[in-house]
Amino acid sequence: MTTSSHSEVTTVTSGPEPEVTVVMRSKSLRRRVARAVRPTLAMAPFVIYTFLGLGIPTIAVINLAFRSESGKLSTSNLHLISQGIYRLGFENSIKLALITSIIPGIVGVILAYTIQTSRSSLFRRLVATASGVLANFGGVNLTFMFIATLGSTGVLTVWLNVIKLNPWHYGFNLYSFYGVAFVYMYFQIPLMVLIITPALAGLRQSWREAASNMGASNLRYWRHVGIPVLLPSVLGAMLLLFGSAFAAYATAESLTTGIIALAPIQIGVVLNGNVVAGQTHVGYAIAFGMLIILTVTMVLYGLVRRRASKWLR
């Protein structure tokens, strides 16, 4: 926009006075060069930074995943992760990510709907802020909060012990696979609430009125209007949740000190040097495998989102 108005100004001023035209032209040439160069210069820091911090590490991971220890091209690392303990790591990670995306997905939608239809706007704002904080609240702090609450001497455990309901006596173990899943919900549910609330707000009141005018019950409204319209958004949000749980490292690592086989934890183990000699590159292969799974997740998300935007904007 500004570009065209600039050149107009130049032609208008250079028009009536022929002697000045040459000067103006060289000036405008310089300006044109500057105008062409300036965007490149302005974007350069950002582009260089992201290339160094994101591009090079990704390229390094992919490159090293396909190289044997001696530096030769090989698929031995990929072969290694397709079996045994590393395969189990991927299976566990996918299982964990599925559990902690489907359950928090459903709970999150119900919770978001409850909040959305609440009358108190203060409450709604409070929950929105809390979701924003909690959705980004993973890792070590979360781990120790849960240890203090549901660890073997945690506050809630002690309470429940008094009424003879100590969960540890009923097979619960915070430091196990399902313990990790239980803790993950603490940031997955708020994340779902955060993502799905705009979609719920997009459900128009008029659709509901139209449905009830035609005699549809609440149930029928949800079955034929609400759920079909929301489903792509909910699936999309669950895909994001899947990615978030699949990639998480800090919470699982600090909770279980790395004893359960999950793909991200195995990368950490290999990077720390706890690996059979000759297999040091297996960590990059796992990282590469994670990248592939996450890329597929994101492509699916893109497709689902396109479908979702048909009815909801």
């Binding site: 911090g53 609240f137 120790f144 909060m145 009830s212 549809a216 029928r220 800090a250 720390n272 996450l294």
Partner: protein, 290 residues
Amino acid sequence: MASVSGPLGGLAFEEAIPDILGEAPTPRRRRRLRFRPWRVIIMTLAGAYFLLPIYGGLKFSLEDLNGRFSFEAIQNLPSAPGFSDAFWLSMRLALATLVVSTLLMVPTTIYVHLRLPRMRRVMEFVTILPIVIPPIVIIAGVLPAAPLWAKSSPYLLSFLYVILVMPFIYRSLDAGLSAIDLKTLVEASRSLGGNWLRTMTSVILPNLRSALLSAMVLTLALVLGEFTMASLDLWTTIPVWITQFNTSSNGHIQVAASMLGLVGTWVFLTIIVSIDRSESRRSRRKAGTL
């Protein structure tokens, strides 16, 4: 429509009435009369799940080894071996991340909004990448690729944290810039004779204050809690220190340290939000009297 006369028909009729009445001239009173047990149940369960761990963490931090109320754990925290080193390291990294990410993202985002609106889609794509590529993969790629001089400095972590916070900063700034008429503001400032620096400092940045502040709080929270990269790059920041702390001496100290991070973030958030609100109220009042 035929199926309405089935067993669902009666349900439809009964259910439809409150909805129709709900849109009557006095919907508020009508609705308040309806008791909704499922709402109470859902909110109670959710409240228990989200508040109990916070309560548990706080209570555990404020107990001595015998389970009595005391500030012992918090008092012993600063003198716990290694804590102050970890604390200052985390602070330095946080400060460096804040400065670099602001200097990098603010001018770039403003420039894109002003001059290269076509690039907004590209920026959106690039800044979502750090969410897609997990920190564990990034650090796995950085460790073999980074030169030795970079790996021997803790600020390599700050360099990477800038990448991690990019999605949050960009989204926050993007929303802030979309909310104002940036072009008009800049043109007004320029035609009044303001140079670029002045336009930035006294026209654009004041308008972006709340967007910037919320981005900064998120940055701080993320950097002070980051564990994955720091532990694998072998730097003892606060979260790494917490996990390495010898539990046999006093487990309450660990919990106290992790709760301090949470409480600190919330206090900081509240202070910033309230400053921001009172500032904007003052400026609105000033604008009103003019």
